[in-house]
C-alpha cells in the first residue's frame, strides 16, 4: 500500500539510545508508550495479587484469612487500581501511543511534549495514591457517599490521586484527536484509516468530554470531607444520589473508554490472521462512534434500585438497550470476517477469538442488567461482578493480551516463544471461565457482592471460583515470564512476520526514530487481503 523503502544504512531503531535520561525526557511516542506499558502492566499485576487475596479469603464462608475491614480495603484497592491505573489508561495510552502515529503515517503525535507531560501526570497521580496507602480507603472504587464522606480511612488522598490521573487522560485524548485530524499521511483518508484508529478516536472523545465530570465530582467529595460543605449530605441539604449520578455520568462512558480500544485491536488482528478484508468496515467504524455517543446517555442503569424515579429508570433502561445494537453489530462483523478465510491460530488470534467469545457472554448478560425487573433482583449481586469481569477481562484484557502478542515483534524487535504463549492462553481462558462463570449462578441465587463473609449455601460455587482464580493467575504468570524471556533472548523479529498490510508493519522492527524515512503516500486501505475479483 505504501511505496517507499528504508535504506538500511541510516536505520536507527528507536530503542538505540541508552541511559535513564533517554527515557525520562523522551518525546518519542514509542518510548512513552513503553513507559505506559510498563506502568500499567505493573499495576495490573499488583491489583491482580489483591484479587487473588480476595478470592483466597472467599474460599470459605467465614473470615479466616483477613478481617472484614482488610477485605473491604482489598476490594477497594483492587477495583481502584485496576480501573484508574490499569484499564482506563490501558490500551489507549500504551498501544494508542505506539500505534497511532505509525498507523496513520506520522513521525509522532501532534504534541510530543504534552504527551510526555501526560505520562508524568499519570505517574504523579499514582504516587499520590501510593501515599494514601498509609490508611487505605475502604469505600469500594465507586466512593459512594455518605459512606465515603464519613469513613475514617483516607478517602481524600486516593480521590485526589484519581483527580490528577484524570488530567493525564484528558490531555492524552486531546493529543490523539488532534493527531488523527492533522497528522494523517497523504492519501490516508478517513475511510482508509485502520479500525484501531477509529476506536482510538472514539475513545479520545470520551476521555476529553467525560473525564472532567469525574474530576469535578471527586473534588466535590474532597470539599465535603475537608471543608464540610454538604453537596451530598442530606443533613446539609445535599443528596447522596446526586453523587451516583455524577459518578456514573463519567464512569459509564469510562467503561467504553476501557473497551473500545480493545475492539479496535480485535478489528486489526482478525483480518491479518484470516487473510480476509475486515467485514463491514464502515459498520464497525461508525458503531464505535455510535457507542461513544450513546454511552453518555445510559449512566443511570447503574442506579435502578437507588431511589431514582420510575420514569427515569424506564428511560435509562430503554437507552441502555440501544447501546447493545452497535455492540452486537461488531460481534457479527468480526465473526463474518472469518468466512472463507485462511485462518492461522497464532497466539494473538487466539486472544482475539477468546475476546469475541467472552465478550459475547459479557454483552448478553448485560441484557439482564438493562431489563428493569431483572436488574432489581440481580443488582449488586455476583451476577454484576461476573458480567463486569466478562466485559473487562474477557473483553479489554483479552484485547490487551492480544495486542501484546500481536505487536510485540514490531515494538521490541524480538520474538517470544509461541508454544509457551499458547499454553499460557489456555490456562488464562480456562482459569477465567472457572473463576467467573459460577458467579453468574451465585448472583442469580442472591449472593451479594462486597461480602467479606457469606452464608454457607454459597460455599461450593464460591470455592470453585477461587480455584479458577489460581488457574488464571498461573496463566498470567506463564505469559508474563514468556514475554519477558523473549525480550532477553528472543529471536530477532522480521519486519512483517504475519504479512500485514498496515503501515506499522512496513517499517523495520523495532521502528526507527520518527518512524518513516519519508512520509508514506497511502493509496489503499490496510485490509486489502484476498484476491479481488
Amino acid at each position: 500500500m505504501a511505496n517507499h523503502t528504508i535504506a538500511q544504512n541510516v536505520y536507527v531503531p528507536f530503542l538505540e539510545k541508552k541511559g535513564i535520561w533517554s527515557w525520562i525526557l523522551t518525546t518519542d511516542h514509542k518510548r512513552i508508550g513503553i513507559m505506559y506499558l510498563i506502568s500499567i502492566s505493573f499495576f495490573f499485576l499488583v491489583a491482580g495479587v489483591f484479587a487473588l487475596m480476595l478470592r483466597y479469603e472467599l474460599l470459605t464462608p467465614a473470615s479466616d484469612f483477613v478481617q472484614p475491614h482488610t477485605y473491604n480495603v482489598l476490594f477497594t484497592l483492587h477495583g481502584s487500581i485496576m480501573v484508574f491505573f490499569f484499564i482506563v489508561p490501558g490500551l489507549a495510552a500504551s498501544f494508542g501511543n505506539f500505534l497511532i502515529p505509525l498507523m496513520i503515517g506520522a513521525p509522532d503525535v501532534a504534541f510530543p511534549k504534552l504527551n510526555l507531560g501526560s505520562y508524568w501526570i499519570y505517574l504523579l497521580g499514582t504516587l499520590i495514591v501510593l501515599i494514601a496507602l498509609a490508611k487505605p480507603a475502604d469505600t469500594g472504587w465507586t466512593f459512594y457517599t455518605p459512606y465515603s464522606a464519613t469513613t475514617d480511612t483516607d478517602v481524600v488522598l486516593i480521590t485526589l490521586g484519581v483527580f490528577v490521573l484524570g488530567f493525564s487522560s484528558i490531555l492524552t485524548g486531546l493529543n490523539f484527536i488532534v493527531t488523527i485530524h492533522k497528522m494523517r499521511a497523504p492519501g490516508m483518508t478517513w475511510h482508509r484509516l485502520p479500525l484501531f484508529i477509529w476506536a482510538s478516536y472514539a475513545t479520545s472523545i470520551l476521555q476529553l468530554l467525560a473525564t472532567p465530570v469525574v474530576g469535578i465530582t471527586l473534588l466535590l467529595l474532597i470539599t465535603e470531607r475537608t471543608l464540610g460543605v454538604g453537596f451530598f449530605d442530606p443533613a446539609k441539604g445535599g443528596d447522596p444520589v446526586l453523587f451516583q449520578n455524577f459518578f456514573w455520568f463519567y464512569s459509564h462512558p469510562a467503561v467504553y473508554i476501557m473497551i473500545i480500544p480493545a475492539m479496535g485491536v480485535i478489528s486489526e488482528i482478525i483480518p491479518v490472521f484470516a487473510r480476509k478484508p475486515i467485514f463491514g468496515y464502515k459498520a464497525i467504524a461508525y458503531s464505535s462512534l455510535g457507542i461513544a455517543f450513546i454511552s453518555f446517555l445510559v449512566w443511570a442503569h447503574h442506579m435502578f434500585t437507588s431511589g431514582i424515579s420510575d420514569i427515569a429508570a424506564t428511560i435509562f433502561s430503554f437507552l441502555t438497550f440501544l447501546v447493545a445494537i452497535p455492540t452486537a453489530i461488531k460481534v457479527f462483523n468480526w465473526t463474518a470476517t472469518l468466512y472463507k478465510g485462511s485462518i492461522h491460530l497464532h497466539s494473538a488470534m487466539l486472544y482475539a477469538l477468546a475476546f469475541v467469545f467472552l465478550f459475547t457472554i459479557g454483552g448478553l448478560t448485560g441484557l439482564f442488567l438493562g431489563a428493569l425487573a431483572a436488574d432489581i433482583h440481580l443488582h449488586d449481586t455476583y451476577f454484576v461482578v461476573a458480567h463486569m469481569h466478562y466485559v473487562m477481562i474477557g473483553g479489554t484484557v483479552m484485547g490487551f493480551f492480544g495486542a501484546l502478542h500481536f505487536w510485540y515483534p514490531k515494538w521490541f524487535g524480538r520474538m517470544f516463544n509461541e508454544t509457551v504463549a499458547k499454553i499460557a492462553w489456555l490456562f488464562i481462558f480456562i482459569g477465567f471461565n472457572v473463576t467467573f462463570f459460577p458467579q453468574f449462578f451465585l448472583g442469580v441465587q442472591g449472593m451479594p457482592r462486597r461480602y467479606a463473609t457469606y452464608p454457607a449455601e454459597f460455599e461450593s460455587l464460591m470455592s470453585l471460583s477461587t480455584y479458577g482464580s489460581w488457574i488464571l493467575g498461573a496463566g498470567i504468570i506463564i505469559m508474563t515470564v514468556n514475554l519477558i524471556a523473549g525480550l532477553i533472548n528472543g529471536e530477532k523479529a522480521p519486519q512483517n512476520p504475519y504479512g500485514s498490510l498496515s503501515l506499522e508493519w512496513q517499517v523495520p522492527s523495532p521502528p526507527p526514530l520518527e518512524n518513516f524515512e519519508e512520509i508514506p503516500h497511502v493509496t489503499d486501505w490496510s485490509y486489502g487481503y484476498g484476491k479481488k475479483k
Binding site: 473491604n72 434500585t305 437507588s306 485462511s342 485462518i343 448478553l364 448478560t365 441484557l367 431489563a371 484476491k531
Partner: protein, 312 residues
C-alpha cells in the same frame, strides 16, 4: 443446589419470567456465535501458506438483518422488563405498612401496632406488605432473593418496596449496598406466618416471640438475643476481631479505652456499652455501635450479661 432461589412472593415468578425470556434469547445468540466461530476457525484453518482467500468486504443485506432483528428483540425485552417493573413499583392500597430502618449494621422493623423487631421481619402469608424505608447513616439496600425484591435505603429520604409473601417460612434478608466493615454481617430474616400464627404474633405481649421466650433461662435467652438482635454481626465468640471486640473471655478482664485508661469489664460496663455504646469505647475500635436503649428490655440486658459471662 438450585439454579434459582425458591419462589416465595407474588413478584418472584414474574421476575423469573423476565429472567427466563432473556436467558432463552441470550442462549440462541450465544450458541449461534459460538458455533459459527468454532466452525469457521476449524473449517478455514490455514493448511498451506499460499492459500487464496476471497476479497469480501461486507454485505449490506446482512448488516440490515443483524441490526434489525436484534433491535426488535431488544425492544421486546425492554417492554417485558418494564411491565413487571411497573408491578414491582405499585403497591396495592391495602398493604400492611412496616417502617424499616437500616443502620450500620442491623435492621429494625416498626409495625403499626407499636411492635418493634430487630433483624426479623414478621409478615402474614398472602397479604401484601409495603415497607417504608430509611437509613440514618449511610446507604443500605434491602434484598430478599426469595422475593426478588431489592431497594436501596437512602439517608434523607424514604424509599419503598412491596411484596405479597406466597410461602410460609423463613427467608434471608441481605444488605446489598456496601455499607462498611459489618456489611456482610447485616443479615436478617423475613418470617412469613400463617394468618392464625400472625394473629397470635400481632396480639403477643412481648415484642418478639411472645410468652415462650420470657421463660427461657437467662443464659439461653442471652444467646438467643446475641444472634437475633445482631450482636453477632460485630462481636465474635471465637476471639477473632470483627467490627467490635470479641466476647470471648472478655468478662472479668480489663480493657484499654481510647484515652489509654483501663476499665474492668463487669456487669455495669456491659450494660453501659449496650445502652450508651459511645461512653467508653475500647481502644482500636471505631465508635460506631448503635444504642439499644428502648430496643432491649432490662431483662434482655441482664440475660445478655449472663450469656457473656459464660464465654470463657
Amino acid at each position: 443446589m438450585t439454579w434459582i432461589p425458591e419462589v416465595a412472593s407474588n413478584l418472584a415468578s414474574k421476575v423469573d419470567g423476565v429472567l427466563l425470556l432473556i436467558t432463552l434469547l441470550s442462549l440462541v445468540f450465544f450458541i449461534l456465535i459460538t458455533v459459527v466461530l468454532v466452525y469457521f476457525a476449524i473449517k478455514y484453518r490455514r493448511k498451506r501458506e499460499d492459500e487464496e482467500t476471497p476479497y469480501i468486504t461486507g454485505s449490506e443485506p446482512l448488516e440490515i438483518i443483524w441490526t434489525v432483528i436484534p433491535s426488535i428483540l431488544l425492544i421486546v425485552i425492554f417492554v417485558y422488563g418494564y411491565v413487571v417493573f411497573k408491578d414491582m413499583r405499585t403497591p396495592p392500597k391495602d398493604s400492611v405498612e412496616v417502617t424499616v430502618q437500616g443502620k450500620q449494621w442491623l435492621w429494625t422493623f416498626d409495625y403499626y401496632n407499636g411492635k418493634k423487631t430487630i433483624n426479623e421481619l414478621y409478615v402474614q402469608y398472602n397479604r401484601p406488605v409495603r415497607l417504608v424505608m430509611e437509613a440514618p447513616d449511610v446507604l443500605h439496600s434491602f434484598f430478599v432473593p426469595a422475593f426478588r425484591v431489592k431497594q436501596d435505603l437512602v439517608p434523607g429520604r424514604y424509599t419503598q418496596l412491596w411484596f405479597t409473601p406466597t410461602k410460609i417460612g423463613t427467608f434471608d434478608i441481605f444488605c446489598a449496598e456496601y455499607c462498611g466493615t459489618g456489611h456482610s454481617a447485616m443479615l436478617g430474616k423475613v418470617i412469613v406466618l400463617s394468618p392464625e400464627a400472625y394473629e397470635i404474633w400481632e396480639k403477643g405481649v412481648k415484642a418478639d416471640e411472645g410468652a415462650g421466650v420470657a421463660s427461657l433461662p437467662p443464659v439461653e435467652l442471652g444467646a438467643k438475643i446475641y444472634k437475633e438482635k445482631g450482636c453477632n454481626a460485630c462481636h465474635s465468640l471465637d476471639g477473632s476481631t470483627l467490627v467490635g471486640p470479641s466476647f470471648k473471655g472478655i468478662f472479668g478482664h480489663a480493657v484499654e479505652l481510647q484515652d489509654g485508661s483501663k476499665v474492668d469489664v463487669d456487669e455495669n460496663y456491659i450494660k453501659q456499652s449496650i445502652l450508651e455504646p459511645q461512653a467508653q469505647v475500647v481502644k482500636g475500635f471505631a465508635p460506631v455501635m448503635p444504642s439499644f436503649k428502648g430496643i432491649l428490655s432490662d431483662e434482655d440486658v441482664t440475660a445478655l450479661v449472663a450469656y457473656i459471662k459464660t464465654l470463657k
